[in-house]
């Protein structure tokens, strides 16, 4: 995985004005949370921002991959999935980065995490 510093350099050099963000679902066999609604809310957040672009999760040039998993098993938290992205954020039921996050706050926390990644690269 490319380090954050080099990632932003790549992004600038590429001449693009958009951060390429992808969504990947675990497969939704028996989710503990409403993954569709969560995904829709994240997509709306991305669409609201001019500098963000939603791209397919199998794209080979992803800046931030959001992996939405319905339970703590986090089946899609796999290197072969995440290796296409420079950064990844993985939810696991009501959890993110090993911490418990209530479902009602997950979309907002994800948005904040995306903003954080974006701003840290812009500094």
């Amino acid at each position: 995985m490319v380090s954050n510093r080099f990632w932003f350099a790549d992004y600038i050099n590429r001449g693009s004005h958009k951060i390429r963000i992808a969504l990947k679902y675990c497969g939704s066999c028996n989710p503990e949370i409403d993954l569709s609604a969560l995904g829709a809310e994240v997509r709306r957040f991305i669409a609201r921002r001019e500098s963000f672009e939603l791209v397919p999760h199998d794209d080979l040039d992803i800046d931030i991959l959001i992996v939405l998993c319905g339970c703590q098993r986090a089946c899609a938290d796999r290197e072969d999935i995440k290796s296409h992205a420079k950064h990844s954020l993985v939810t696991a039921g009501e959890g993110l980065r090993g911490s418990r996050v209530p479902y009602k706050d997950l979309a907002a926390i994800l948005a904040a995490e995306i903003e954080l990644l974006n701003s840290s690269e812009s500094d």
């Binding site: 503990e32 409403d34 993954l35 609604a37 319905g70 339970c71 703590q72 098993r73 696991a92």
Partner: protein
């Protein structure tokens, strides 16, 4: 020394001086007293199988703390493979002992405490997890067997710990000192307690702020001053002292050998205190421990059921019923019930997940389903075994009469089955079936790792009923619905 042999384990017990009472008598040495020998033998096998080439792949592991090869019963699960190997190990050992081998309780307690202490430290900046890792290293390095002591006597169940008339009905802190704490209370039904090296004591239920003195987790050596063990009775326990064949499973006995452990103002040094008043984490510890322990039961009981099915199958050959279609059907049903609980244990292991501490936890919903199925399936397996065995299970003359110079010839004559199988074979098989299915053994499947209602509560809590309702509403076209419900 990273791993002990069974013989070394027995020797290590002889060096301890625990206070143990049984039938009103103080017991000096559990390794030589017939009431305890089968339980010691079963625990010793967990040591032997970890170094046996045939079983070491399951029964040993590599420590993530020291990098050394260790007995799996001292391991902290690091991935799904560890969770799966755990239940495979339990089935493999259960097949050899036909009885409880006790060591899983402390194993599960260590795994639960490992992740919970990490979470407490993260919230409060305490150093419980660091202490606990040092404790785990000590257990792994010395290959010790801690019991897992969770269940308090509870007194009046309608009252919380701090509301009990007698405060000792739940283990609690009676004094905090600079270098440790003093605790009093008791833990009931503790498996393997008298032949463990020490006790990992955990809270038994969710706590409130007023119960904070009861939110305590610690380890004490089995012979710490103030620790008293009172060993429980089992059905047919006097057979252990008076005969061999009639025990059914003389080598390993039945169930785990449970005891009441009393803590009478026991001092615990700070390095072995892992929760001290953080009441809001009591539920987490209970739930994680319960998940680990309920995960087990399709493994160990699956192994025991393998032995039972084998005994019943052999008995049908000894009784001339093996070809009867209804007998074959019942044996097939016993296998089906066995493999069902096994499937549950495998499933909750495969669906496990990483905790923030980095250790792995089985799936709580499926682990509870596993244990609830065990409370039913094991009874049904036993019922079928009784059906096939026949009434002799309850009426057979003793081994003393079989060997009596006057009546032995009659016992041999009238207990005979098919001509080509010795009568003693038939008697031994029936005694084994009796030991595995009558009396104390069945109650263990019901209440070990928690009673059925405890599992129902967890299943309901984690059943995600609202999502199921949305799935139904979509197909019933109730209100405006999405194309796919996720």
């Amino acid at each position: 020394m990273a791993q002990m042999t069974g013989a070394q384990y027995k020797e290590s017990l002889k060096k301890l001086n625990p206070v143990i009472y049984y039938l009103g008598e103080k017991i000096d040495n559990v390794t030589t007293h017939p009431a305890f020998i089968p339980h010691v033998n079963a625990a010793a096998l967990t040591y032997e199988m970890a170094i046996a080439p045939e079983f070491e792949e399951l029964c040993s592991a590599k420590s993530h703390l020291t990098g050394e090869k260790i007995n799996r019963f001292t391991h902290i699960h690091q991935n799904h493979d560890d969770l799966i190997k755990k239940v495979k190990m339990l089935r493999a050992i259960g097949q050899q002992t036909g009885s409880c081998f006790q060591r899983c309780v402390g194993f599960d307690g260590m795994n639960a405490t490992y992740s919970v202490t990490y979470d407490i430290d993260k919230k409060y900046g305490t150093d419980y997890h660091k202490r606990f890792k040092e404790f785990v290293k000590m257990i792994q390095t010395k290959d010790l067997m801690p019991s897992g002591a969770m269940t308090d006597p509870k007194g009046d169940r309608s009252l919380s710990p701090s509301q009990q008339k007698d405060p000792d009905l739940y283990v609690h802190i009676v004094e905090k000192k600079k270098d440790g704490i003093v605790v009093s209370g008791a833990k009931a039904h503790i498996t393997g307690a008298v032949n463990s090296h020490g006790h990992l004591v955990m809270p038994t239920s969710a706590m409130k702020a007023e119960d904070k003195d009861y939110a305590v987790c610690f380890y004490v050596p089995i012979d710490a001053p103030g620790v008293v063990h009172i060993f429980g009775r089992q059905s047919n326990d006097t057979r252990k002292c008076e005969c061999s064949m009639d025990q059914g499973n003389a080598e390993y006995g039945c169930v785990g050998g449970e005891a009441l452990i009393v803590f009478d103002k026991v001092f615990v040094p700070n390095e072995h205190v892992f929760i001290c008043g953080e009441w809001e984490f009591a539920f987490e510890l209970v739930e994680r421990f319960a998940t680990f322990h309920r995960q087990n039961y399709g493994g160990c009981k699956g192994g025991l059921a393998d032995v039972l099915v084998g005994a019943v199958y052999a008995l049908t050959q000894a009784q001339g019923t093996s070809k009867a279609s209804h007998i074959r059907d019942k044996i097939a049903e016993m296998i089906h019930l066995t493999e069902t609980v096994w499937s549950c244990s495998i499933a909750c292991s495969c669906q496990g997940f990483a905790q923030p501490a980095g250790s792995f936890q089985a799936d709580p919903l499926l682990a509870n389903v596993t244990k609830l199925n065990v409370t039913r399936n094991v009874y049904e397996i036993a019922r079928l075994a009784h059906d096939i065995t026949g009434g002799l299970l309850a009426t057979m003359p003793s081994e003393f009469d079989l060997h009596d110079p006057s009546v032995g010839k009659y016992v041999s004559k009238y207990m005979a089955g098919t001509a080509d199988i010795p009568v003693e074979t038939r008697i031994r098989l029936i005694r084994l079936i009796e030991a595995m299915t009558c009396g104390t053994s069945l109650a263990e499947s019901m209440h070990g790792a928690g009673s059925p209602q405890a599992q129902k509560i967890m299943i309901e809590r984690r059943g995600n009923l609202e999502r199921k309702k949305r799935l139904a509403e979509k197909l019933a076209k109730i209100g405006e619905q999405p194309f796919l419900v996720c």
